[in-house]
């Protein structure tokens, strides 16, 4: 035994619990039970949070706990500093004001779309330190391992006085974030649009009150953006062509029955071609039955035509509430009838349970690596890498998964389809296919340990451009894979490497397919194939249940 200088102290096993109690007691009468008055939230945050705390702030892809983030940015940096912020999505300017004002120091996040440029600048100025950039599931997972939060700041539509929360269609990340804090003696504070007296006045309870320490009525309803609405009016013939190729050359060929679609005009075009082109090919009931995606308005015609059996959602989409309520056989809804979304589960579903991920990107290199990080912009990952890879933990077989088997080896496993669907050039004449990803130099400049690659080349099974489809999973060597990518890369720097003499050989071998190989005449690819050509058409398809946000109305 080792001798100790001092008499041995009884071990302490509840430091986090007593610290939580201490802070809550210190708050004293400021709160009325669990309810913090709106006008005293800054004071309350100064009391309930301590310097150096890990604070999860609910900034999701769609909804934002913006009253809490605006209030946190108003605390005194003498009282609160060196916070370690954990945010699924850094989307609002005050998220970064926290760092500029010296309230926070370190950031772990997943996605940063609109703030990507400013993060890059703050990082360069040394105002902000990045722990890591994560995928969504990865970030939620770390909340239970080495990023356990002291405080969680979340958003809900409604709460009662006992802290029961109704998050409804926009449940999104709230359960995952709240659980990590609530069950490890963290403090959970929820901003709500409306406070009711009793549980009976809530449409339903999404988060039980015993998980929540405080609620505060926000000065205005939480910010939410209809990120996943695409106006069919803006779909171009090239999107229609690529959508036809996807349906014919990938969905039909591999019998893709379960899938994720991201946002973008290409996938919106696919959704709108199912009731027309897909119907003509006799594919209804054979493909696209189960979906993990946000409730895209452009999916309405396919749902109404009987293509879609189920949809599980990451989040909600403004305007889709009543439509979803009227289609509970398709969507996940609560006892009150409204949508229940859950980003953590939907991400897992998109990772393990679907046949195919199809997405877009800003840059692809000659090996098939892709990234949305371009010079000066640290955009983060979001969920694409979770869904855009072949999960080695998968053990169930589906026709599509088995269709990618390449040998007779009884121990070979199937493969998830990971499809990159891109035009060879982006807006502003920037090539999509590049010699070197910008991500490599960005990583170097920001001293990041890894280049921020969205989807690694060896996970990509198909590249689809307006030129054709490269069936990369068939490549026998890295050289062959490069040739296949170059063959569909148009006149970009990578495409110029392609030897046109090889095209015929690769087409014969089935390594690449041009539209004509799939029985598609380019001239057929017109907007007349779209099941809905405008937002007004979507409203009509929905029997008036879809209520488009003002910015998508043209009447």
């Amino acid at each position: 035994m080792i001798a100790t200088k001092e008499p041995s102290q009884a071990p302490v096993w509840d430091r986090r619990r007593s610290e939580k109690q201490r802070r809550i007691e210190k708050l004293g009468k400021l709160a009325d039970g669990r309810v913090i008055p709106t006008n005293r939230i800054v004071e309350a945050l100064e009391t309930l949070i301590a310097p150096g705390d890990r604070v999860v702030l609910e900034g999701n892809n769609q909804k934002q706990a913006d009253f809490l983030s605006r209030s946190l940015a108003k605390v005194s940096s003498a009282k609160l500093h060196d916070l370690h912020m954990i945010m699924p999505s850094v989307g609002r300017s005050e998220h970064l004001d926290l760092f500029e004002r010296g309230i926070a120091r370190k950031l772990d996040f997943s996605f940063s779309g609109p703030q990507s440029l400013r993060i890059g600048q703050l990082l360069e100025d040394g105002v902000l330190e990045i722990g890591a950039i994560h995928t969504y599931i990865e970030l939620y997972s770390r909340l239970f391992v080495d990023l356990i939060p002291n405080v969680a700041l979340v958003a809900a539509y409604k709460a009662d006085r006992k802290g029961n929360l109704y998050t409804g269609p926009s449940t999104e990340d709230t359960p995952a974030i709240t659980e990590a804090a609530a069950f490890k003696n963290g403090i959970v504070i929820a901003q709500v649009n409306e406070l009711v007296e009793d549980e009976s006045e809530l449409p339903r309870v999404d988060i039980p009150g015993s998980w929540v320490d405080f609620v505060v009525v926000a000065d205005k309803p939480f910010f939410i953006e209809p990120l996943f609405t695409r106006d069919p009016r803006l779909i171009k013939p090239v999107h229609v062509l690529m959508a036809m190729m996807a349906i014919r050359g990938i969905y039909e060929r591999h019998q893709v029955q379960s899938l994720n679609h991201g946002l973008g005009f290409n996938t919106a075009a696919i959704e709108l071609l199912l009731p027309t082109y897909g119907e003509k090919l006799g594919l209804k009931g054979k493909i696209c039955k189960h979906w993990t995606l946000n409730p895209h308005p452009t999916l309405i015609p396919a749902i109404e035509s009987g293509w879609v059996e189920s949809v599980h959602c990451f989040g909600g989409e403004l305007g889709m509430e009543e439509y979803i309520r009227a289609r509970p056989d398709v969507f996940f809804t609560g006892s009150d009838g409204s949508l229940r979304s859950n980003r953590a589960f939907c991400q897992l579903a998109g990772q393990y349970a679907v046949d195919m991920f199809i997405g877009s990107t800003l840059q692809i290199d000659g090996d098939g690596h892709s990234s949305t990080v371009t010079r000066g912009r640290i955009a983060g990952f979001g969920g694409a890498p979770n869904m855009g890879h072949d999960p080695h933990g998968r053990r169930h077989a589906t026709p599509a998964w088995l269709d990618l088997l390449q040998t007779d080896n009884p121990l070979e496993r199937g493969k998830k389809l990971v499809v990159q669907m891109v035009e060879t050039y982006q807006a502003g004449n920037k090539p999509t296919f590049v010699e070197k990803l910008d991500a490599i130099d960005v990583a170097k400049a920001a001293k990041m340990p890894l280049a921020p690659v969205m989807i690694y080349g060896d996970d990509v099974t198909h590249v689809l451009t307006e030129e054709g489809i490269a069936y990369l999973y068939k490549a026998q060597s890295l050289d062959e894979r490069r040739e296949m990518i170059a063959a569909v890369a148009g006149v970009t720097p990578i495409g110029m490497r392609h030897d046109p003499k090889k095209t015929a050989e690769m087409r014969t071998k089935g390594l690449i397919a041009l539209p004509e190989d799939l029985g598609i005449q380019r001239a057929e690819a017109t907007r007349s194939l779209l099941a809905a050509k405008s937002v007004a058409d979507l409203v009509e398809w929905s029997d008036g249940l879809y209520n488009p946000p003002a910015k998508f109305r043209s009447w």
């Binding site: 027309t276 109404e304 907007r527 007004a536 058409d537 009509e540 003002a550 043209s554 009447w555």
Partner: protein, 283 residues
């Protein structure tokens, strides 16, 4: 409900200017004058580094409506916002003048203007403005003999000097997605401030300048759904109706009296505007 109906809808707005013109004329009767293969393009745009269009964004389509001689003048909204330049303006004015000539020669010819335009093409400045003035004069001449029918379908709408042309027409036809006004929303916002006029507030914009409102306030004569057959039927009906008994620009005193009666201290909403105009303007 039979959802397959949704797939059969035949949008007029979806059509480009040439297709719209063809859909209005009697089947098989359309022939194009100064078409894209004649390559009469704007001499000014290329000097400013802007790619020209082979018909300068204006389709002159000759043919028949109800078997009667007609010319359809279609502005292509997707080219430079449907703006009127020297060439496109001259094409429209010239075609209207020739139609009036035909009428004088005993060949009754009516005209349909498909207005998808922000007004004058700023790159061509006075030359575009001069052309629009010629268009106005030509409409005033032609409408004595036969109807000149203006159509605003969307999505561009009609603004600026070409809306003055619309006001000179014998009849105006609008859809729900049309916007029809003198100054465009962004111009008003710039001049009056975002507090007074937020150009991004789409329901607000449509509530004041949208097709439904313009019809309700009597500034348009027909409100049709976005459907090729419905549009075709309305044009045919108006072509048959002939020259109207009174024209809007002959009722200036009536409009001025209305404007004088408005309290400009409050910004009227859609319903109030309907009430004000409902008092006396409806023909």
């Amino acid at each position: 409900m039979d959802k397959s109906q949704n797939l059969k809808s035949n949008s007029f707005i979806e059509l480009n200017a040439r297709e719209r013109a063809r859909s209005i004329l009697d089947t098989g009767s359309m022939r194009e004058l100064l078409g894209p293969f004649d390559r009469v393009t704007s001499p000014w745009l290329k000097e400013q580094g802007i790619v020209t269009q082979a018909d300068d964004g204006l389709v002159v389509a000759k043919g028949t409506i109800n078997g009667q001689s007609a010319v359809v003048l279609g502005i292509e909204g997707s080219f430079q916002g449907g703006s009127m330049g020297e060439v496109s303006g001259a094409k429209m004015a010239g075609a209207l003048e020739l139609a009036a000539e035909d009428n004088r020669k005993g060949i009754p010819t009516l005209a349909v203007l498909l207005l998808e335009t922000g007004g004058v093409r700023l790159q061509e400045a006075n030359l575009g403005l001069a052309a629009i003035a010629e268009i106005h004069a030509a409409i005033a001449d032609l409408r004595q003999y036969q109807p000149v029918i203006g159509v605003v379908a969307g999505t561009v709408g009609s603004f600026g000097g070409m809306s003055v042309a619309g006001a000179l027409c014998s009849y105006m036809v609008v859809t729900r997605e049309a916007r029809y006004g003198l100054n465009g929303p962004q111009v008003i916002e710039q001049e009056a401030g975002i507090e007074e006029y937020d150009s991004r507030d789409k329901p607000f914009i449509w509530s004041l300048t949208g097709g439904e409102q313009r019809f309700a306030t009597g500034l348009a004569d027909r409100f049709v759904q976005d459907d090729v057959d419905s549009m075709n039927a309305v044009i045919r009906e108006l072509a048959k109706a002939g020259v109207p008994a009174s024209l809007r620009d002959q009722r200036i005193d009536e409009f001025l009296a209305l404007l004088d009666s408005i309290d400009t201290n409050v910004q009227p909403n859609s319903a109030q505007v309907r009430e004000i105009f409902g008092k006396g303007v409806k023909a």
